[in-house]
């Protein structure tokens, strides 16, 4: 079981890309052609190539490739002016009049009790983003999908019908449910074909904020809007500290230009090197998300990063931010933080108090990289605006805000796991990458570029090169250090109840190292240590980021029998091979 692709791969050459359109091989990229162009690039008008990339844009007709937007200060890489990804472009509902599609609506809360059933239709919807009407996908026509609330310990039933144009599944991210309902095609279920229905029994043993998304071409389906949250409520009303209200912040981005969404790769993902960074930020599916709060109000934000590849550094203006929880529940101790770094698929729970009247910008604040100039530069994107005004909030909920709680039950549960910190890992995984058939200018540029690789890629600093790299040319690798086995050849079997220590080393000496959010299906783990430093504040996780050059030790509690995946949660890396599955045998 190594093939999770539900969409058949094409074989190149002439490809049908939509009604009335064909993309021929002559416009596709070839290595020889690129080399020829590159070798003759010196005769081109360099001044004409810079700043104005419009000359290189492909026609903006729906369904045809268009070059992704580039920073106007970044020059076009010589030799790639007419290059296209060697896959067909894909847009949702190609050939269908968008006006005929139902308009998507904001997410609705669905409170479920154990045994309740929710019908979810995965369908094509009409969305308007940045003034562009687009065909996208939605769960029950909503963006994000319904916010499902279920009590801890219950099992709810979700009956999913596929009404989009390709097979899909639903993965219940972070949920330790029964293996048959994990939503991995080819491993736990067959893909839900168009028109078919699959019934998921979603058992929720852990409290916290989880999420659901497809496990078929996430780079496309998730990016087109298929994601939603699952809030599992604990029986203890004081599980977290007091707050005036709870809000959801689902962070996303989408790659668009002035003509709309840049097409996705049909047979394989584009942007296989760095993942598909978006140019338009979305919070809860909106480009202009806002919130009105009262002075002094304490707001609990459940944050989920559903972006394909972007890691956010989220700031809340001058407001104080208290970190109380992560993927699967509470920290041992609450802490103050200045910002929240949240990698793809991670969740964080923060309590934020807004004391003063006026606007507070929730922003993504990063030091972006300009590879051409070899510089970092500050870059801030507004994600949402909180407007503080009106009558002051009641003081009772805010009374305990200044206090940082220690969660004794969590300490009691997790502290014994520290005994594993000083022992050797059971397994070591190294991350690396192989490329084959990338255009020569890209290879040359990347060889120069890797004199220094930053720990994190906060932005797409090489959008053209990234766009042209596909999952057919790039193989991202999880390599078992002891055996040399890679990705699907890794064969791990455990027994229910095992505590397995896994070391993940992000090899900085590979061709193009990059940060990787590592996700373990069906189990939970703690990050014991990073770079040899013990973690002094444990929390159950299901996804954790490994920066370039770093070593992360996790202790996985193999508590849930079945066949499960471990993979990088950058969608394009996943579909470029960075995954394998392991088995947990049930206890006798």
């Amino acid at each position: 079981m190594n093939d999770f692709e539900a969409v058949p791969r094409g074989q190149g050459g002439s490809r049908h890309v939509g009604p009335g359109r064909r993309l021929t091989a002559s416009r596709g990229f070839t290595l020889g052609g690129a080399l020829l162009v590159w070798l003759t690039a010196g005769t081109a008008d360099a001044a004409g190539q810079q700043m104005d990339h419009a000359a290189h844009r492909m026609p903006a007709a729906d369904g045809a490739w268009r070059m992704p937007p580039m920073d106007p200060n970044m020059p076009m890489l010589p030799g790639l002016e007419m290059a296209l990804p060697p896959v067909a472009p894909f847009l949702a509902a190609a050939g269908i009049d968008i006006a005929t599609l139902p308009e998507a609506r904001p997410s609705e809360v669905v409170e479920m009790a154990g045994g309740d059933t929710l019908d979810v239709d995965v369908s094509i919807v009409r969305r308007t983003l940045n003034g562009h009407e687009m065909a996208m996908y939605g769960y029950n026509g909503q963006y994000p999908g319904p916010l499902i609330q279920a009590p801890q310990g219950s099992t709810v039933v979700v009956r999913v019908t596929n009404s989009i144009e390709s097979p899909t599944t639903v993965h219940w991210h972070g949920v330790r449910l029964d293996n048959a309902f994990d939503g991995v095609p080819g491993l736990t279920q067959a893909p839900i074909e168009v028109g078919e229905t699959f019934v998921y029994d979603v058992k929720v043993p852990d409290a916290g904020m989880f999420w659901y998304h497809p496990h078929v071409r996430e780079d496309v389906q998730q990016d087109l809007g298929l994601y939603g949250n699952l809030l599992v409520t604990p029986p203890d009303p004081e599980y977290f500290g007091p707050a005036h209200r709870e809000e959801v912040l689902v962070l996303d981005d989408i790659l668009m230009d002035e003509a709309g969404a840049i097409p996705w790769g049909e047979e394989a993902p584009t942007h296989a090197l760095m993942g598909r960074f978006g140019t338009v930020m979305l919070v809860n599916g909106e480009t202009d998300h806002g919130l009105d709060v009262r002075p002094g109000e304490v707001v609990r934000f459940y944050m989920t990063n559903v972006a394909n590849t972007r890691t956010f550094n989220v700031t809340f203006g001058e407001a104080r931010v208290k970190l109380v929880g992560s993927d699967v529940g509470r920290y041992e101790r609450e802490t103050w933080v200045e910002s929240v770094v949240i990698a793809p698929a991670e969740r964080y729970v923060v309590d934020v108090q807004f004391p003063e009247e006026g606007p507070v910008v929730i922003a993504n604040s990063i030091q972006a990289v300009n590879h051409f100039r070899g510089e970092f530069y500050p870059h801030v994107d507004t994600l949402a605006v909180v407007t503080v005004g009106g009558d002051p909030a009641g003081a009772s909920m805010a009374a305990g805000y200044d206090d940082l709680r220690e969660n004794s039950a969590v300490v009691e549960e997790l502290n014994p796991l520290r005994a594993h910190a000083n022992r050797e890992p059971d397994y070591t995984l190294e991350t690396t990458v192989r490329v084959n058939g990338l255009p020569l200018p890209i290879v040359v540029s990347m060889e120069i570029d890797t004199l220094y690789v930053p720990p994190m890629e906060w932005n797409d600093a090489m959008p053209m090169m990234n766009w042209l790299s596909t999952g057919d040319q790039v193989t991202w690798i999880l390599r078992e250090a002891d055996t040399g086995r890679e990705n699907g050849d890794i064969a791990w079997t455990f027994d229910e109840g095992d505590l397995v220590k896994i070391r993940v080393f992000n090899d900085p000496d590979s061709f193009h190292p990059m940060n990787h959010p590592i996700h373990v299906h069906g189990q939970r783990f703690v990050v014991l240590a990073r770079d040899g430093m013990d973690n002094d504040n444990l929390v159950w996780k299901d996804t954790a980021i490994v920066p370039v050059g770093s070593t992360m030790d996790i202790l996985v509690e193999m508590s849930n029998p079945g066949d499960w995946m471990l993979h990088c949660h950058i969608a394009e890396h996943l579909h470029a091979g960075m995954m394998f599955d392991f088995t947990v045998r049930p206890a006798a």
């Binding site: 200060n73 890489l77 890691t311 910002s339 100039r373 220094y452 990073r530 770093s550």
Partner: protein, 185 residues
């Protein structure tokens, strides 16, 4: 043990690394388990200038790692990395008078901070909050945390690995490009 207490752990004995001119105190090794593992990739060399007697043959390394953070990567609200760094030297003779003061500075020297002085074993551990930075050790009369820049001679200096992220203008595929078009003189 919380990481904060590790930072405060006396760094005595870190430099029981060599003979020659080193002045390390014997028998004071710190348990290995207390030392974070600096990713080798981000280590950088501390290079002597030869301007201070007894230091010309010094060999130094700066280990760099992220301080503990709940998020796995430590950044400030403006997105700059926050690094912990540790200096270790071989064959570095410490001064009989004055002090070897450690500074961090941006690569264009527009911001300079005095962050401490080498211990009597020639070690140092501190923090820096810039993506590109230099670490400079100078010979001063005394450590002055308020000093805006150094007055004494530079003993050793090193540049963060990120300093190697230089411009592509004029290199490789951009060899034929007109650098002036991109703001370069």
């Amino acid at each position: 043990m919380p990481w904060s207490s590790l930072i405060l752990t006396p760094l005595v004995g870190l430099l029981v690394l060599g003979a020659g001119e080193a002045t390390a105190a014997p028998g004071t090794e710190v348990a290995e388990c207390l030392q974070p593992a600096s990713p080798d990739y981000y280590q950088f060399a501390m290079v002597p200038t030869g301007r201070v007697p007894g230091t010309g043959n010094a060999r130094g390394t700066a280990d760099v790692w992220f301080p503990h953070t709940p998020f796995g990567v430590a950044v400030s609200p403006d997105g700059s990395y926050r690094y912990q760094f540790r200096l270790r030297f071989e064959r570095l003779r410490l001064p009989r008078q004055g002090s070897f003061v450690v500074w961090v500075t941006t690569t264009d020297l527009d911001q300079v901070e005095a962050v401490g002085e080498l211990s009597d074993t020639g070690a140092f551990e501190g923090e820096v909050g810039w993506n590109k930075f230099l670490v400079v050790v100078t010979h001063e009369d005394a450590f002055d945390p308020e000093a805006v820049t150094w007055k004494g001679p530079v003993v050793v200096r090193g540049m963060s690995r990120s300093g190697m992220m230089h411009t592509m203008a004029g290199h490789g595929p951009f060899e034929q490009e007109k650098c002036s078009s991109y703001g370069y003189e």
